[in-house]
């Protein structure tokens, strides 16, 4: 995994490890407030902007990686 991406997840969610299967359903800290913080942190780190539909779709690490890849990050 991209180390910048890993760092964004660790600092935003306050978790020590970022398992590949990380998602909203298996991570207590990934609530609606931290979801917004995650969006802000990802946008600041990678210089991208997410559409509302993309923000709603970002429900797992895999989904975030896919969205970033589509933005050629």
């Amino acid at each position: 995994m991209d180390s910048r991406l890993e760092n964004v997840f660790k600092t935003t969610l306050g978790i020590d490890a970022v398992p590949a299967e990380l998602s909203q359903t298996n991570c207590e800290a990934w609530d609606s407030v931290n979801h917004l913080n995650l969006v802000l942190a990802l946008e600041a780190e990678f210089g991208v902007t997410f559409e509302p539909e993309e923000i709603a779709a970002m429900q797992s690490l895999a989904a975030v990686e896919k969205l970033l890849a589509a933005k050629a990050v």
Binding site: V39, L40, E51, P52, I55
Partner: protein
């Protein structure tokens, strides 16, 4: 707890994690005593229309006056000023928003000078990210700098009439295909962005601009939306001319100018379809304004600002405009008396809260399913449902209720959901789900909602009502709710189970200061 922040919008991103606890949105009913310091961070909604500003800041101040004496003596209390509005008003002489901001900031200053350890904080230097406002109620974003004040743009000749398309312009969705109940107006994104646009259209109407509708739809369907859709802000009385048919729009526009006795060059034609705009622009050789419509609903505020700049802003209203304004200010005239409240009950009473408890219908089902998905704090059982599950539940002879709330400050829409199932003998009922959105917490509304439902159950001769409180990481706010309504732990049942004997519990009354709108 290091710091407790009173707030009415989403501000978590601006505070270090773990050190700050936040109030509910506009919720002053719970004030912890053990914080080291307190902060008051209320903000105006970005793009607020002039007619709402004063009422809102007076409400903020009323809340603050109730909070102030409850902050433990000697503890630091910081009050954040409101920012001056970023954009010039539609009518430059209309200083209502600026005046309201100053009125609020002056009042904060007075309070700070009267209470020791109270300081003022400057308004934050950030601008709005409309996407995050509509999605998450975030009034400004850390990534947006506040815009530098600029000289307001005024068109040389003010246009007279705004002609509006309907589908995907005034609301999200296609009326003919999706039906009335599925239109996106109000509520969550993108409905809230369309509601914002409608509010700005009303502001234009109140400044003397004539509104007309030109839409390819069945006229009866469109009229029904204007008359019946509960989230519509534009109403029939705002519209001066209707051309809802399948005819060529250029022809419709010719008829509209004839009917209103104005020139084609005083029209602004707003339609999300590029094809229609091009057709109209070509038909009239560019005489008529056909501004490009944004593809994304969250760009509507920027679009509105450009409409104002290019076509509609003016120095001041003419007498004729003003007469029109008066005409629109119908029954909704607000009581502007400033009062001081000594108790939360008095304050709640002053809000003139109106509750409507109604059986679920085609309008409310999508929103109700959404509520079950999203509500975490005030949610007794946290059973997530989709629309299909709710329909199935209803089809089995059960009941689903929606709660809509409005007060003198505005309309919150549908904020509560309750699901009730009935026993075979019809003597007992079970509350399968009961929730209230955090937007409506802190005003005693949950109690009124529950009591209203209990009244309805009693009217159906139900004898016992069962309910459960299933604790989650987030729903502590409703831990004592069932006992507060008179429910008792159920004998020989898990701790989560409660029961209320409707035959023995006496009168069930809703506090008199909530007005219950009659159920349909």
């Amino acid at each position: 707890m290091k710091c407790f922040v009173f707030r009415n919008a989403t501000l978590e991103a601006f505070f270090p994690r773990g050190e700050t606890t936040f109030s509910g949105y506009g919720d002053i009913s719970r004030i912890p005593e053990n914080a080291e310091c307190y902060r008051w961070f209320y903000t105006l909604p970005p793009g607020i229309v002039a007619s709402e500003a004063r009422t809102l800041v007076e409400d903020f101040l009323q809340q603050l006056r109730l909070v102030l004496p409850q902050i433990p003596a000697g503890k630091p209390f910081e009050l954040m000023r409101l920012a001056e509005p970023e954009n010039a008003p539609l009518v430059l002489a209309d200083s209502r928003v600026r005046d309201a901001v100053r009125f609020y900031n002056d009042a904060l200053e007075n309070m700070a000078s009267e209470r020791p350890a109270t300081a003022l904080l400057p308004a934050p230097p950030f601008g709005v990210d409309w996407r995050l406002w509509f999605l998450a109620q975030m009034p400004f974003s850390p990534a947006q700098k506040q815009a530098e004040p600029q000289a307001p743009a005024i068109p040389v000749l003010r246009k007279k009439c705004l002609v509006l398309d309907c589908d995907d312009t005034l609301w999200g969705g296609t009326l003919g295909e999706d039906g009335l109940g599925s239109l996106k107006i109000g509520g969550d994104f993108p409905g809230n962005a369309f509601a914002f646009f409608q509010k700005k259209c009303v502001e234009l109407a109140e400044s003397g601009i004539i509104l007309a509708i030109c839409s390819k739809n069945n006229e009866a369907d469109v009229r029904e939306v204007f008359e019946k859709h509960p989230a519509m802000i534009l109403r029939r009385e705002h519209i001066s001319a209707w051309r809802v048919n399948w005819n060529d729009k250029a022809q419709n526009l010719r008829e509209i100018v004839a009917e209103l006795n104005i020139g084609l060059d005083s029209l602004v034609f707003v339609d999300n379809e590029t094809r229609e705009r091009t057709r109209v622009a070509e038909a009239f050789g560019g005489v008529l304004a056909t501004p490009e419509f944004p593809e994304r609903a969250h760009d509507l505020p920027v679009f509105v600002e450009k409409l104002f700049d290019d076509y509609f802003r003016c120095e001041k209203l003419t007498e004729e405009d003003a007469a029109k304004t008066q005409q629109y200010r119908d029954a909704s005239v607000r009581n502007e008396l400033v009062k001081n409240f000594t108790s939360l009950d008095d304050y709640i009473a002053s809000l003139e809260i109106r509750l409507r408890v109604a059986p679920a219908d085609a309008f409310s089902l999508p929103r109700l399913a959404q509520l079950t998905q999203k509500t975490n704090q005030f949610n007794l059982a946290t059973r997530r449902r989709d629309e299909g599950e709710l329909r199935d539940f209803l089809a089995r002879g059960n009941a689903v209720f929606s709660l809509s709330v409005a007060d003198k400050i505005g309309d919150l829409g549908i904020v509560g959901e309750a699901e009730i199932s009935f026993s075979f003998d019809g003597k007992s009922a079970r509350i399968e789900n009961f929730m209230l959105s955090c937007r409506a917490l802190g005003r005693g509304i949950e109690t009124a909602f529950a009591r209203r439902i209990l009244q309805l159950l009693r009217a159906r001769n139900i004898e016992r009502v069962y309910a459960e409180y299933l604790p989650t990481a987030k729903n502590a706010p409703c831990a004592n709710f069932l006992p507060s309504l008179g429910f008792a732990p159920e004998d020989d049942a898990p701790d989560s189970c409660f029961v209320l004997d409707l035959c023995a519990c006496g009168e069930i009354a809703v506090a008199p200061f909530y007005r219950l709108d009659s159920d349909k």
